[in-house]
Protein backbone atom coordinates (compact mmCIF):
# COMPACT_ATOMS: atom_id res chain seq x y z
CA UNK A 1 0.00 0.00 0.00
CA UNK A 2 1.46 3.33 -1.09
CA UNK A 3 0.88 6.47 0.85
CA UNK A 4 0.06 8.83 -2.02
CA UNK A 5 -3.51 9.83 -2.68
CA UNK A 6 -5.05 8.44 -5.87
CA UNK A 7 -8.50 9.95 -5.40
CA UNK A 8 -9.25 13.05 -3.37
CA UNK A 9 -12.85 13.93 -2.56
CA UNK A 10 -13.53 17.33 -1.04
CA UNK A 11 -16.78 18.75 0.33
CA UNK A 12 -18.97 16.80 -2.03
CA UNK A 13 -22.69 17.59 -2.19
CA UNK A 14 -25.46 15.97 -4.18
CA UNK A 15 -29.16 16.22 -3.55
CA UNK A 16 -32.20 14.83 -5.31
CA UNK A 17 -35.16 17.17 -5.17
CA UNK A 18 -34.08 18.78 -1.93
CA UNK A 19 -33.02 15.55 -0.24
CA UNK A 20 -29.27 15.53 0.35
CA UNK A 21 -27.86 12.14 -0.64
CA UNK A 22 -24.24 13.33 -0.27
CA UNK A 23 -23.91 16.03 2.31
CA UNK A 24 -20.40 17.46 2.51
CA UNK A 25 -18.27 14.38 2.15
CA UNK A 26 -14.49 14.58 2.33
CA UNK A 27 -12.29 11.55 1.82
CA UNK A 28 -8.86 10.57 0.51
CA UNK A 29 -8.31 7.21 -1.11
CA UNK A 30 -4.73 5.95 -1.15
CA UNK A 31 -2.89 4.18 -3.97
CA UNK A 32 -3.41 0.42 -3.96
CA UNK A 33 -5.54 0.19 -0.87
CA UNK A 34 -8.81 -1.61 -0.54
CA UNK A 35 -11.04 1.09 0.83
CA UNK A 36 -14.39 -0.16 2.03
CA UNK A 37 -17.37 2.17 2.26
CA UNK A 38 -20.07 0.93 4.61
CA UNK A 39 -23.24 2.45 5.95
CA UNK A 40 -26.95 1.80 6.35
CA UNK A 41 -29.37 1.66 3.41
CA UNK A 42 -29.83 5.05 1.88
CA UNK A 43 -26.62 6.44 3.35
CA UNK A 44 -25.59 7.60 -0.12
CA UNK A 45 -22.97 5.00 -1.00
CA UNK A 46 -24.24 4.30 -4.51
CA UNK A 47 -24.77 7.99 -5.09
CA UNK A 48 -21.16 8.56 -4.07
CA UNK A 49 -19.90 5.96 -6.55
CA UNK A 50 -22.02 7.54 -9.28
CA UNK A 51 -20.61 11.00 -8.60
CA UNK A 52 -17.07 9.63 -8.64
CA UNK A 53 -17.56 7.80 -11.93
CA UNK A 54 -19.33 10.67 -13.66
CA UNK A 55 -22.70 8.98 -14.03
CA UNK A 56 -24.11 11.90 -12.08
CA UNK A 57 -22.51 15.27 -11.56
CA UNK A 58 -22.18 16.63 -8.01
CA UNK A 59 -23.89 19.87 -6.98
CA UNK A 60 -20.74 21.12 -5.28
CA UNK A 61 -17.33 19.92 -4.25
CA UNK A 62 -14.31 18.53 -5.95
CA UNK A 63 -13.00 15.17 -7.12
CA UNK A 64 -9.29 14.90 -7.91
CA UNK A 65 -7.74 11.87 -9.57
CA UNK A 66 -3.93 11.83 -9.30
CA UNK A 67 -3.74 15.59 -9.11
CA UNK A 68 -6.21 16.14 -11.91
CA UNK A 69 -9.62 17.71 -11.29
CA UNK A 70 -12.18 15.33 -12.77
CA UNK A 71 -15.27 16.66 -10.99
CA UNK A 72 -17.14 17.43 -14.23
CA UNK A 73 -15.44 15.02 -16.59
CA UNK A 74 -18.00 12.97 -18.58
CA UNK A 75 -18.37 9.33 -17.54
CA UNK A 76 -17.08 7.93 -20.82
CA UNK A 77 -13.69 9.63 -20.47
CA UNK A 78 -12.90 8.37 -16.99
CA UNK A 79 -12.18 4.75 -17.94
CA UNK A 80 -9.37 6.06 -20.11
CA UNK A 81 -7.69 7.41 -16.97
CA UNK A 82 -7.81 3.90 -15.52
CA UNK A 83 -11.11 3.91 -13.63
CA UNK A 84 -13.75 1.18 -13.82
CA UNK A 85 -16.97 0.42 -12.05
CA UNK A 86 -19.28 -2.47 -11.31
CA UNK A 87 -22.93 -1.82 -10.55
CA UNK A 88 -24.99 -2.73 -7.51
CA UNK A 89 -27.86 -3.55 -9.84
CA UNK A 90 -26.32 -5.71 -12.55
CA UNK A 91 -25.68 -3.68 -15.66
CA UNK A 92 -24.74 -5.83 -18.60
CA UNK A 93 -25.85 -6.02 -22.21
CA UNK A 94 -28.53 -8.68 -22.01
CA UNK A 95 -28.94 -9.43 -25.70
CA UNK A 96 -25.26 -10.11 -26.31
CA UNK A 97 -23.21 -13.16 -25.41
CA UNK A 98 -21.07 -13.24 -22.30
CA UNK A 99 -17.96 -13.04 -24.44
CA UNK A 100 -19.29 -10.09 -26.45
CA UNK A 101 -19.97 -8.22 -23.22
CA UNK A 102 -16.38 -8.64 -22.11
CA UNK A 103 -15.00 -8.02 -25.60
CA UNK A 104 -16.70 -4.63 -25.48
CA UNK A 105 -14.93 -3.90 -22.22
CA UNK A 106 -11.58 -4.79 -23.79
CA UNK A 107 -12.45 -2.80 -26.88
CA UNK A 108 -13.16 0.27 -24.78
CA UNK A 109 -9.55 0.40 -23.68
CA UNK A 110 -8.01 -0.73 -26.99
CA UNK A 111 -8.05 2.64 -28.72
CA UNK A 112 -10.96 3.98 -30.71
CA UNK A 113 -13.62 1.73 -32.19
CA UNK A 114 -14.10 3.53 -35.48
CA UNK A 115 -13.14 0.32 -37.24
CA UNK A 116 -15.79 -0.77 -39.65
CA UNK A 117 -14.46 -3.76 -41.52
CA UNK A 118 -12.83 -6.60 -39.56
CA UNK A 119 -15.04 -8.71 -37.36
CA UNK A 120 -14.51 -7.92 -33.68
CA UNK A 121 -15.52 -11.24 -32.22
CA UNK A 122 -12.80 -13.20 -34.02
CA UNK A 123 -10.08 -10.67 -33.23
CA UNK A 124 -7.56 -12.33 -30.89
CA UNK A 125 -6.46 -8.97 -29.58
CA UNK A 126 -9.93 -8.62 -28.11
CA UNK A 127 -11.02 -12.17 -27.37
CA UNK A 128 -7.83 -13.30 -25.61
CA UNK A 129 -7.92 -10.65 -22.87
CA UNK A 130 -11.68 -11.18 -22.66
CA UNK A 131 -11.32 -14.93 -22.14
CA UNK A 132 -8.61 -14.29 -19.57
CA UNK A 133 -10.98 -12.08 -17.59
CA UNK A 134 -13.74 -14.66 -17.87
CA UNK A 135 -11.41 -17.40 -16.66
CA UNK A 136 -10.41 -15.22 -13.75
CA UNK A 137 -14.02 -15.00 -12.56
CA UNK A 138 -14.79 -18.61 -13.47
CA UNK A 139 -17.23 -17.90 -16.28
CA UNK A 140 -15.26 -19.17 -19.26
CA UNK A 141 -17.61 -22.11 -19.87
CA UNK A 142 -20.53 -19.73 -20.43
CA UNK A 143 -18.64 -17.48 -22.85
CA UNK A 144 -20.84 -18.27 -25.85
CA UNK A 145 -24.17 -17.97 -24.07
CA UNK A 146 -26.49 -15.02 -24.26
CA UNK A 147 -25.93 -13.05 -21.08
CA UNK A 148 -29.54 -12.21 -20.26
CA UNK A 149 -30.90 -15.62 -19.19
CA UNK A 150 -27.92 -16.51 -16.95
CA UNK A 151 -28.32 -16.75 -13.19
CA UNK A 152 -27.93 -13.83 -10.84
CA UNK A 153 -24.61 -15.14 -9.57
CA UNK A 154 -23.29 -15.47 -13.10
CA UNK A 155 -24.41 -11.93 -13.87
CA UNK A 156 -22.37 -10.72 -10.90
CA UNK A 157 -19.36 -12.66 -12.17
CA UNK A 158 -19.82 -11.10 -15.59
CA UNK A 159 -19.98 -7.64 -14.04
CA UNK A 160 -16.64 -8.26 -12.42
CA UNK A 161 -15.13 -9.75 -15.58
CA UNK A 162 -16.09 -6.58 -17.47
CA UNK A 163 -14.31 -4.52 -14.84
CA UNK A 164 -11.19 -6.68 -14.88
CA UNK A 165 -11.03 -6.74 -18.67
CA UNK A 166 -10.42 -3.00 -18.76
CA UNK A 167 -7.37 -3.53 -16.53
CA UNK A 168 -8.18 -0.55 -14.32
CA UNK A 169 -6.02 1.08 -11.68
CA UNK A 170 -8.95 2.35 -9.65
CA UNK A 171 -11.96 0.08 -9.26
CA UNK A 172 -15.35 0.89 -7.79
CA UNK A 173 -17.26 -2.19 -6.72
CA UNK A 174 -20.80 -1.45 -5.61
CA UNK A 175 -21.89 -4.45 -3.54
CA UNK A 176 -20.26 -7.17 -5.63
CA UNK A 177 -21.89 -9.85 -3.49
CA UNK A 178 -25.39 -8.29 -3.61
CA UNK A 179 -28.04 -11.01 -3.69
CA UNK A 180 -25.53 -13.85 -3.75
CA UNK A 181 -25.75 -17.04 -1.75
CA UNK A 182 -23.11 -17.98 0.82
CA UNK A 183 -21.07 -20.07 -1.58
CA UNK A 184 -20.95 -17.60 -4.47
CA UNK A 185 -20.27 -14.81 -2.09
CA UNK A 186 -17.32 -16.63 -0.53
CA UNK A 187 -15.93 -17.26 -4.00
CA UNK A 188 -16.33 -13.61 -4.87
CA UNK A 189 -14.47 -12.55 -1.74
CA UNK A 190 -11.53 -14.82 -2.46
CA UNK A 191 -11.49 -13.50 -6.01
CA UNK A 192 -11.32 -9.96 -4.71
CA UNK A 193 -8.59 -11.00 -2.29
CA UNK A 194 -6.47 -12.03 -5.25
CA UNK A 195 -6.81 -8.53 -6.68
CA UNK A 196 -5.69 -6.91 -3.48
CA UNK A 197 -2.45 -4.96 -3.67
CA UNK A 198 -2.33 -4.73 -7.46
CA UNK A 199 -4.87 -1.94 -7.78
CA UNK A 200 -6.92 0.50 -5.77
CA UNK A 201 -10.35 -0.80 -4.88
CA UNK A 202 -13.23 1.18 -3.46
CA UNK A 203 -15.57 -1.44 -2.11
CA UNK A 204 -19.14 -0.73 -1.12
CA UNK A 205 -20.41 -3.73 0.80
CA UNK A 206 -23.00 -4.73 3.36
CA UNK A 207 -21.44 -8.08 4.17
CA UNK A 208 -19.27 -7.30 7.18
CA UNK A 209 -17.29 -10.53 6.95
CA UNK A 210 -16.23 -9.54 3.45
CA UNK A 211 -15.45 -5.99 4.49
CA UNK A 212 -13.27 -6.92 7.42
CA UNK A 213 -11.54 -9.63 5.44
CA UNK A 214 -10.65 -7.38 2.53
CA UNK A 215 -10.39 -3.78 3.62
CA UNK A 216 -7.19 -1.93 4.42
CA UNK A 217 -9.26 0.99 5.54
CA UNK A 218 -12.95 1.54 6.10
CA UNK A 219 -15.09 4.64 5.79
CA UNK A 220 -18.45 4.70 7.52
CA UNK A 221 -21.12 6.75 5.80
CA UNK A 222 -24.26 7.98 7.47
CA UNK A 223 -26.73 10.38 5.88
CA UNK A 224 -24.36 11.46 3.16
CA UNK A 225 -21.39 12.11 5.41
CA UNK A 226 -18.26 10.17 6.29
CA UNK A 227 -18.46 9.88 10.06
CA UNK A 228 -15.27 7.86 10.46
CA UNK A 229 -12.37 6.57 8.41
CA UNK A 230 -9.68 4.20 9.62
CA UNK A 231 -8.24 0.70 9.70
CA UNK A 232 -10.64 -2.14 10.52
CA UNK A 233 -9.37 -2.19 14.10
CA UNK A 234 -9.96 1.50 14.57
CA UNK A 235 -13.45 1.29 13.07
CA UNK A 236 -14.29 -1.68 15.23
CA UNK A 237 -13.31 0.26 18.30
CA UNK A 238 -14.91 3.56 17.32
CA UNK A 239 -17.71 4.32 19.73
CA UNK A 240 -19.40 6.81 17.39
CA UNK A 241 -19.55 4.20 14.67
CA UNK A 242 -20.98 1.63 17.02
CA UNK A 243 -23.68 3.96 18.17
CA UNK A 244 -24.52 5.41 14.81
CA UNK A 245 -24.47 2.36 12.68
CA UNK A 246 -22.97 -0.92 13.65
CA UNK A 247 -24.80 -1.21 16.90
CA UNK A 248 -25.41 -4.68 18.20
CA UNK A 249 -24.69 -6.44 14.89
CA UNK A 250 -21.12 -5.39 15.32
CA UNK A 251 -20.42 -8.00 17.94
CA UNK A 252 -21.81 -10.83 15.89
CA UNK A 253 -20.38 -9.61 12.60
CA UNK A 254 -16.85 -9.01 13.78
CA UNK A 255 -16.47 -11.65 16.46
Amino acid sequence: MGESVILGIKDLYKSFGGVAAINGLTLDVLEREVHAVIGPNGAGKTTLVSQLTGVGLPDAGQVVFRGRDITRMPAYRRPHLGMARSFQITSIIHDMTVLENVVLAVQAKAGHSYRFWESAIVDDQLTEPAMRALTQVGLEAEAMQIAGPLSHGEHRQLELAMVLATDPELVFLDEPTAGMGREDSTRMVSMLESLKGSRTIILVEHDMDAVFALADRITVMVEGRAIATGTPDVIRADRLVREAYLGEDMNTAVK
Binding site: T53, Y76, F87, I93, M96, L104, A108, S119
Partner: protein
Amino acid sequence: MKSLTLRGWVTLIGLVVLALLPVFINRQLPLTILQQWPWLGGHFDFVTFLTGQEFYLVLATRLVILAIAAVSLNLILGYGRMISFGHAAYLGIGAYAVGIPAYYEIYNGFIHIGIAVVVSAAFAFLTGLVCLRTRGVNFIMITMAFSMMVFFAFVSIEEYGGDDGLVIEVRSEFGQWVNLENDTVLYYVCFVSLLGILYLIRRIVHSRFGMVIQGARGNEGRMQSLGFDTFRYRLVCYVIAGALCGYAGALLGNFTSFISPEMMDWTRSGELIFMVVLGGTSSLFGPVLGASLFILLEEILSGFWLYWQLIFGIFLILVVLFAKGGIDSWLGRRPER
Protein backbone atom coordinates in the same frame (compact mmCIF):
# COMPACT_ATOMS: atom_id res chain seq x y z
CA MET B 1 -21.14 -25.14 -46.52
CA LYS B 2 -23.69 -25.21 -43.76
CA SER B 3 -27.08 -26.48 -44.81
CA LEU B 4 -29.53 -23.68 -45.43
CA THR B 5 -32.42 -22.91 -43.14
CA LEU B 6 -35.86 -22.07 -44.47
CA ARG B 7 -34.92 -18.45 -44.01
CA GLY B 8 -31.74 -18.96 -45.97
CA TRP B 9 -33.67 -20.60 -48.79
CA VAL B 10 -36.24 -17.81 -48.99
CA THR B 11 -33.46 -15.24 -49.10
CA LEU B 12 -31.50 -17.16 -51.71
CA ILE B 13 -34.50 -17.80 -53.93
CA GLY B 14 -35.58 -14.19 -53.59
CA LEU B 15 -32.19 -12.94 -54.67
CA VAL B 16 -31.99 -15.38 -57.58
CA VAL B 17 -35.44 -14.34 -58.78
CA LEU B 18 -34.42 -10.70 -58.58
CA ALA B 19 -31.17 -11.43 -60.38
CA LEU B 20 -32.86 -13.29 -63.23
CA LEU B 21 -36.03 -11.26 -63.58
CA PRO B 22 -34.93 -9.07 -66.52
CA VAL B 23 -33.76 -12.16 -68.35
CA PHE B 24 -37.27 -13.49 -68.31
CA ILE B 25 -38.78 -10.18 -69.19
CA ASN B 26 -36.45 -9.35 -72.06
CA ARG B 27 -36.54 -12.78 -73.63
CA GLN B 28 -32.82 -12.50 -74.13
CA LEU B 29 -32.18 -16.14 -73.43
CA PRO B 30 -33.69 -19.02 -75.36
CA LEU B 31 -36.66 -19.14 -73.10
CA THR B 32 -38.69 -20.88 -75.71
CA ILE B 33 -37.15 -24.02 -74.26
CA LEU B 34 -38.94 -23.27 -71.06
CA GLN B 35 -42.17 -22.72 -72.92
CA GLN B 36 -41.98 -26.17 -74.35
CA TRP B 37 -41.81 -27.80 -70.97
CA PRO B 38 -45.03 -29.76 -70.82
CA TRP B 39 -45.68 -29.05 -67.15
CA LEU B 40 -45.49 -25.36 -67.82
CA GLY B 41 -46.86 -25.03 -71.30
CA GLY B 42 -49.89 -27.16 -70.67
CA HIS B 43 -51.35 -25.27 -67.77
CA PHE B 44 -49.99 -21.83 -67.30
CA ASP B 45 -47.86 -20.04 -69.81
CA PHE B 46 -45.55 -18.43 -67.29
CA VAL B 47 -43.13 -17.14 -69.88
CA THR B 48 -45.57 -15.30 -72.05
CA PHE B 49 -47.07 -14.05 -68.86
CA LEU B 50 -43.86 -12.33 -67.95
CA THR B 51 -42.13 -11.58 -71.18
CA GLY B 52 -42.50 -8.26 -72.73
CA GLN B 53 -44.11 -6.93 -69.60
CA GLU B 54 -41.96 -3.96 -68.84
CA PHE B 55 -44.30 -3.41 -65.95
CA TYR B 56 -42.65 -6.13 -63.87
CA LEU B 57 -39.21 -4.66 -64.42
CA VAL B 58 -40.46 -1.30 -63.24
CA LEU B 59 -41.97 -2.90 -60.19
CA ALA B 60 -38.79 -4.83 -59.44
CA THR B 61 -36.60 -1.75 -59.84
CA ARG B 62 -38.72 0.18 -57.39
CA LEU B 63 -38.64 -2.77 -55.02
CA VAL B 64 -34.84 -2.99 -55.11
CA ILE B 65 -34.37 0.75 -54.59
CA LEU B 66 -36.74 0.82 -51.65
CA ALA B 67 -35.03 -2.28 -50.28
CA ILE B 68 -31.75 -0.33 -50.24
CA ALA B 69 -33.47 2.49 -48.38
CA ALA B 70 -34.98 0.02 -45.91
CA VAL B 71 -31.64 -1.72 -45.38
CA SER B 72 -30.00 1.62 -44.64
CA LEU B 73 -32.77 2.53 -42.21
CA ASN B 74 -32.31 -0.81 -40.50
CA LEU B 75 -28.72 0.10 -39.67
CA ILE B 76 -29.95 2.80 -37.30
CA LEU B 77 -33.41 1.46 -36.46
CA GLY B 78 -32.63 -2.22 -36.03
CA TYR B 79 -29.04 -2.28 -34.87
CA GLY B 80 -29.05 1.04 -33.05
CA ARG B 81 -32.68 1.41 -31.93
CA MET B 82 -32.74 4.92 -33.38
CA ILE B 83 -36.28 5.05 -34.71
CA SER B 84 -35.97 7.71 -37.36
CA PHE B 85 -39.29 8.87 -38.77
CA GLY B 86 -37.59 11.05 -41.35
CA HIS B 87 -35.56 8.64 -43.41
CA ALA B 88 -37.43 9.40 -46.64
CA ALA B 89 -35.84 12.85 -46.58
CA TYR B 90 -32.64 11.22 -47.82
CA LEU B 91 -34.51 9.59 -50.70
CA GLY B 92 -35.68 13.07 -51.66
CA ILE B 93 -32.27 14.66 -51.23
CA GLY B 94 -30.73 11.92 -53.38
CA ALA B 95 -33.38 12.28 -56.07
CA TYR B 96 -32.99 16.06 -56.23
CA ALA B 97 -29.22 15.56 -56.39
CA VAL B 98 -29.96 14.02 -59.79
CA GLY B 99 -32.78 16.36 -60.78
CA ILE B 100 -31.25 19.73 -59.98
CA PRO B 101 -27.92 19.20 -61.78
CA ALA B 102 -29.87 17.74 -64.71
CA TYR B 103 -31.94 20.94 -64.71
CA TYR B 104 -28.66 22.78 -65.32
CA GLU B 105 -27.70 20.19 -67.92
CA ILE B 106 -25.11 18.48 -65.80
CA TYR B 107 -25.65 14.81 -66.49
CA ASN B 108 -22.48 13.27 -65.07
CA GLY B 109 -23.62 10.42 -62.83
CA PHE B 110 -20.57 10.53 -60.62
CA ILE B 111 -21.38 14.15 -59.80
CA HIS B 112 -25.00 13.23 -59.11
CA ILE B 113 -24.13 10.40 -56.77
CA GLY B 114 -21.35 12.42 -55.16
CA ILE B 115 -23.79 15.23 -54.36
CA ALA B 116 -26.45 12.79 -53.17
CA VAL B 117 -24.10 11.06 -50.75
CA VAL B 118 -22.29 14.15 -49.48
CA VAL B 119 -25.40 16.28 -48.97
CA SER B 120 -27.21 13.40 -47.29
CA ALA B 121 -24.26 12.78 -44.99
CA ALA B 122 -24.05 16.48 -44.16
CA PHE B 123 -27.78 16.66 -43.47
CA ALA B 124 -27.56 13.56 -41.26
CA PHE B 125 -24.60 15.04 -39.41
CA LEU B 126 -26.21 18.41 -38.70
CA THR B 127 -29.61 17.05 -37.75
CA GLY B 128 -28.02 14.16 -35.86
CA LEU B 129 -26.19 16.63 -33.62
CA VAL B 130 -29.61 17.74 -32.41
CA CYS B 131 -31.89 14.73 -32.55
CA LEU B 132 -29.43 12.18 -31.16
CA ARG B 133 -29.51 14.08 -27.89
CA THR B 134 -33.08 12.92 -27.46
CA ARG B 135 -34.59 9.47 -26.95
CA GLY B 136 -37.82 7.64 -27.58
CA VAL B 137 -40.81 9.59 -28.80
CA ASN B 138 -38.85 12.84 -28.88
CA PHE B 139 -36.37 11.31 -31.27
CA ILE B 140 -39.18 10.14 -33.54
CA MET B 141 -40.80 13.59 -33.52
CA ILE B 142 -37.59 15.51 -34.14
CA THR B 143 -36.44 13.32 -37.01
CA MET B 144 -39.88 13.74 -38.53
CA ALA B 145 -39.71 17.49 -38.06
CA PHE B 146 -36.36 17.73 -39.79
CA SER B 147 -37.59 15.72 -42.75
CA MET B 148 -40.64 17.97 -43.02
CA MET B 149 -38.31 20.95 -43.07
CA VAL B 150 -36.66 19.54 -46.16
CA PHE B 151 -40.09 18.75 -47.60
CA PHE B 152 -41.25 22.35 -47.20
CA ALA B 153 -37.94 23.71 -48.41
CA PHE B 154 -38.42 21.93 -51.72
CA VAL B 155 -42.10 22.84 -51.89
CA SER B 156 -41.14 26.50 -51.60
CA ILE B 157 -38.38 26.53 -54.20
CA GLU B 158 -40.32 27.50 -57.33
CA GLU B 159 -37.24 27.22 -59.49
CA TYR B 160 -37.30 23.46 -59.16
CA GLY B 161 -41.03 23.09 -59.58
CA GLY B 162 -42.17 23.58 -55.99
CA ASP B 163 -44.75 21.02 -55.07
CA ASP B 164 -45.39 20.27 -58.73
CA GLY B 165 -42.02 18.57 -58.84
CA LEU B 166 -39.38 18.31 -61.48
CA VAL B 167 -39.17 16.20 -64.60
CA ILE B 168 -35.85 14.52 -65.31
CA GLU B 169 -35.50 13.99 -69.04
CA VAL B 170 -32.09 12.36 -69.11
CA ARG B 171 -30.69 9.78 -66.75
CA SER B 172 -27.27 10.01 -65.13
CA GLU B 173 -24.38 9.35 -67.49
CA PHE B 174 -21.56 7.04 -66.52
CA GLY B 175 -19.54 7.02 -69.72
CA GLN B 176 -19.92 4.46 -72.42
CA TRP B 177 -19.89 1.35 -70.23
CA VAL B 178 -23.03 1.83 -68.22
CA ASN B 179 -26.00 3.21 -70.07
CA LEU B 180 -28.78 3.84 -67.59
CA GLU B 181 -31.20 4.78 -70.35
CA ASN B 182 -31.58 1.06 -70.79
CA ASP B 183 -34.06 -0.07 -68.12
CA THR B 184 -32.38 -3.44 -67.71
CA VAL B 185 -29.03 -1.80 -67.07
CA LEU B 186 -30.61 0.55 -64.53
CA TYR B 187 -32.18 -2.44 -62.85
CA TYR B 188 -28.89 -4.28 -62.58
CA VAL B 189 -27.11 -1.20 -61.24
CA CYS B 190 -29.74 -1.07 -58.51
CA PHE B 191 -29.55 -4.78 -57.84
CA VAL B 192 -25.77 -4.87 -57.61
CA SER B 193 -25.92 -1.79 -55.35
CA LEU B 194 -28.28 -3.66 -53.06
CA LEU B 195 -25.90 -6.62 -52.87
CA GLY B 196 -22.93 -4.34 -52.24
CA ILE B 197 -24.71 -2.41 -49.51
CA LEU B 198 -25.92 -5.61 -47.84
CA TYR B 199 -22.32 -6.80 -47.74
CA LEU B 200 -21.15 -3.45 -46.38
CA ILE B 201 -23.76 -3.50 -43.60
CA ARG B 202 -22.81 -7.05 -42.74
CA ARG B 203 -19.20 -6.02 -42.27
CA ILE B 204 -20.14 -2.95 -40.25
CA VAL B 205 -22.46 -4.85 -37.96
CA HIS B 206 -19.79 -7.37 -37.00
CA SER B 207 -17.00 -4.82 -36.73
CA ARG B 208 -15.84 -3.09 -33.57
CA PHE B 209 -17.96 -0.14 -34.57
CA GLY B 210 -21.04 -2.33 -34.99
CA MET B 211 -20.45 -3.90 -31.59
CA VAL B 212 -20.46 -0.46 -30.00
CA ILE B 213 -23.70 0.49 -31.76
CA GLN B 214 -25.42 -2.71 -30.65
CA GLY B 215 -23.98 -2.41 -27.16
CA ALA B 216 -25.42 1.08 -26.89
CA ARG B 217 -28.76 -0.28 -28.05
CA GLY B 218 -28.72 -2.82 -25.24
CA ASN B 219 -27.37 -0.67 -22.40
CA GLU B 220 -26.16 2.81 -23.18
CA GLY B 221 -25.27 3.72 -19.60
CA ARG B 222 -23.03 0.72 -19.27
CA MET B 223 -21.32 1.49 -22.56
CA GLN B 224 -20.50 4.96 -21.29
CA SER B 225 -19.18 3.55 -18.05
CA LEU B 226 -16.95 1.27 -20.11
CA GLY B 227 -15.52 4.32 -21.82
CA PHE B 228 -17.49 4.75 -25.06
CA ASP B 229 -18.68 8.16 -26.16
CA THR B 230 -21.93 6.65 -27.37
CA PHE B 231 -23.23 9.92 -28.77
CA ARG B 232 -20.40 10.17 -31.27
CA TYR B 233 -20.62 6.54 -32.32
CA ARG B 234 -24.34 6.92 -32.85
CA LEU B 235 -23.79 10.08 -34.85
CA VAL B 236 -21.37 8.32 -37.18
CA CYS B 237 -23.85 5.47 -37.60
CA TYR B 238 -26.60 7.97 -38.35
CA VAL B 239 -24.45 9.63 -41.00
CA ILE B 240 -23.61 6.32 -42.67
CA ALA B 241 -27.29 5.36 -42.84
CA GLY B 242 -28.18 8.78 -44.25
CA ALA B 243 -25.48 8.63 -46.91
CA LEU B 244 -26.55 5.15 -48.02
CA CYS B 245 -30.16 6.23 -48.28
CA GLY B 246 -29.07 9.30 -50.23
CA TYR B 247 -27.45 6.93 -52.68
CA ALA B 248 -30.73 5.02 -52.95
CA GLY B 249 -32.40 8.38 -53.59
CA ALA B 250 -30.09 9.06 -56.53
CA LEU B 251 -31.13 5.72 -58.00
CA LEU B 252 -34.76 6.61 -57.37
CA GLY B 253 -34.29 9.92 -59.17
CA ASN B 254 -33.00 8.06 -62.19
CA PHE B 255 -35.76 5.55 -62.00
CA THR B 256 -38.82 7.79 -61.68
CA SER B 257 -37.94 10.58 -64.15
CA PHE B 258 -40.37 12.69 -62.16
CA ILE B 259 -39.45 13.85 -58.69
CA SER B 260 -41.42 15.87 -56.22
CA PRO B 261 -41.31 16.78 -52.51
CA GLU B 262 -43.98 14.15 -51.97
CA MET B 263 -41.16 11.57 -52.03
CA MET B 264 -40.00 12.78 -48.62
CA ASP B 265 -43.37 13.14 -47.01
CA TRP B 266 -43.54 11.66 -43.52
CA THR B 267 -45.85 8.93 -44.76
CA ARG B 268 -43.01 7.77 -47.00
CA SER B 269 -40.75 7.58 -43.96
CA GLY B 270 -43.47 5.61 -42.23
CA GLU B 271 -43.54 3.15 -45.12
CA LEU B 272 -39.81 2.60 -44.78
CA ILE B 273 -40.23 1.89 -41.08
CA PHE B 274 -42.98 -0.60 -41.87
CA MET B 275 -40.77 -2.37 -44.38
CA VAL B 276 -38.08 -2.78 -41.74
CA VAL B 277 -40.48 -3.87 -39.01
CA LEU B 278 -42.36 -6.13 -41.40
CA GLY B 279 -39.20 -7.90 -42.44
CA GLY B 280 -37.57 -8.04 -39.04
CA THR B 281 -35.34 -5.49 -37.40
CA SER B 282 -31.64 -6.07 -36.91
CA SER B 283 -31.54 -8.92 -39.36
CA LEU B 284 -29.49 -8.38 -42.48
CA PHE B 285 -32.03 -9.50 -45.08
CA GLY B 286 -35.16 -8.72 -43.11
CA PRO B 287 -35.68 -5.29 -44.68
CA VAL B 288 -35.33 -6.77 -48.17
CA LEU B 289 -38.06 -9.29 -47.39
CA GLY B 290 -40.13 -6.52 -45.84
CA ALA B 291 -39.74 -4.23 -48.82
CA SER B 292 -40.65 -7.07 -51.18
CA LEU B 293 -43.79 -7.99 -49.32
CA PHE B 294 -44.74 -4.34 -48.97
CA ILE B 295 -44.44 -3.64 -52.68
CA LEU B 296 -46.22 -6.82 -53.71
CA LEU B 297 -49.10 -6.31 -51.30
CA GLU B 298 -49.43 -2.70 -52.31
CA GLU B 299 -49.56 -3.78 -55.95
CA ILE B 300 -52.08 -6.56 -55.40
CA LEU B 301 -54.36 -4.72 -52.99
CA SER B 302 -54.45 -1.50 -54.97
CA GLY B 303 -55.49 -3.61 -57.96
CA PHE B 304 -58.87 -4.57 -56.61
CA TRP B 305 -60.02 -2.06 -54.08
CA LEU B 306 -59.92 1.67 -53.94
CA TYR B 307 -59.54 1.68 -50.19
CA TRP B 308 -56.71 -0.82 -50.19
CA GLN B 309 -54.70 1.38 -47.90
CA LEU B 310 -57.17 0.66 -45.16
CA ILE B 311 -56.67 -3.11 -45.31
CA PHE B 312 -53.00 -2.53 -45.70
CA GLY B 313 -52.84 -0.34 -42.63
CA ILE B 314 -54.70 -2.91 -40.54
CA PHE B 315 -52.40 -5.64 -41.79
CA LEU B 316 -49.35 -3.62 -40.85
CA ILE B 317 -50.64 -2.90 -37.38
CA LEU B 318 -51.28 -6.62 -36.87
CA VAL B 319 -47.75 -7.42 -37.96
CA VAL B 320 -46.28 -4.88 -35.58
CA LEU B 321 -48.44 -6.11 -32.71
CA PHE B 322 -48.21 -9.85 -33.17
CA ALA B 323 -45.14 -10.66 -35.20
CA LYS B 324 -42.26 -9.46 -33.12
CA GLY B 325 -39.21 -9.97 -35.25
CA GLY B 326 -41.17 -9.67 -38.49
CA ILE B 327 -41.31 -12.16 -41.35
CA ASP B 328 -37.77 -13.08 -40.59
CA SER B 329 -38.73 -14.68 -37.31
CA TRP B 330 -41.52 -16.73 -38.92
CA LEU B 331 -38.84 -18.11 -41.18
CA GLY B 332 -36.85 -19.48 -38.29
CA ARG B 333 -34.72 -16.65 -37.07
CA ARG B 334 -34.90 -16.61 -33.31
CA PRO B 335 -36.71 -13.47 -32.14
CA GLU B 336 -34.56 -10.64 -31.02
CA ARG B 337 -32.51 -11.76 -28.08
